[in-house]
């Protein structure tokens, strides 16, 4: 399954806040047909109540997402901001994380895609592959890393 394409990758993104990063990714996901037009606001609202910053392997990342009702088909966007962006930490909102990579997720109900979710989790636990994403010069590098993560 194609989870993403080059149009969903934002390298050197000129965004300064979590909201701007989510809006940027949501616009691209919407244009590419992965989510509905309500997705952006739903994710922004949810992030305030249930933040998604994670201290992953070697890097702080964030995985903003929302309920399946705003998702047309499963996908992932990638935002690499010029400067790290502050997200609150999942589970402990009082802790702030400076995140270097943001992976907005468009996910359906878990029973439909447990394998995909498990592969994603392994991806976020792999420091080597996260470094390759962070240092990527070309959008295609990241597309290949994420679409190839089952291998």
């Amino acid at each position: 399954m194609e989870l993403l394409n080059e149009s969903l990758i934002c390298l050197q993104a000129d965004v300064k806040t979590a909201e701007e990063a989510i809006q940027l990714a949501a616009d691209k996901l919407f244009q590419a047909g992965f989510v509905t037009s309500e997705y952006a606001q739903a994710v922004i609202d949810r992030e305030k109540n249930y933040p998604t910053g994670l201290a992953a392997a070697g890097y702080n990342i964030a995985i903003p997402h929302t309920n399946p009702e705003f998702v047309v088909k499963p996908g992932i966007a990638v935002v690499i901001p010029k400067e790290p962006i502050t997200f609150s930490m999942m589970g402990t909102p009082d802790t702030k994380l400076e995140c270097k990579m943001i992976f907005p997720l468009a996910m359906e109900s878990p029973d439909k895609q447990l394998q995909l979710l498990m592969r994603l989790m392994k991806f976020f636990q792999n420091e080597e592959v996260l470094q390759q994403v962070y240092e990527a010069k070309e959008e295609s590098t990241i597309v290949n890393l994420l679409n190839g993560m089952e291998n």
């Binding site: 249930y50 994670l54 392997a57 878990p110 979710l117």
Partner: protein
């Protein structure tokens, strides 16, 4: 295998709770537990607890602890990132040892 029921709580009851739930199921199976995992969002905790039989709650989003009085509640974000699976497992095994 001892059968137990675990609530996995995250903001939408979708992404993180499913990732964490599946991982917990695998980890606890190695210690002789057959886990039934129910994914919920924080607002669903009280109802799920009310249905009975919940042995443990693993959460990546805070919920009202009063919704689950008397049931062990363990932060499971470390399972999601893989950075702290061991301390989750230790806490879970401790909480389940009389089950």
């Amino acid at each position: 295998m001892k059968r137990i029921k675990i609530l996995s709580v995250c903001g939408s009851g979708t992404v993180s709770s499913a990732m964490v739930g599946q991982k917990i199921k695998e980890m606890l199976a190695e210690h002789g537990y057959d886990c039934q995992i129910e994914e919920v969002n924080p607002g669903m905790v009280a109802g799920a607890v009310g249905n009975g039989g919940v042995d443990l709650i693993a959460f990546t989003s805070p919920f009202d602890p009063k919704d689950a009085v008397g049931i062990p509640q363990i932060n499971s974000v470390g399972v999601l990132t893989g950075m702290d699976e061991e301390s989750f497992l230790e806490a879970a095994l401790e909480a389940l040892k009389n089950k």
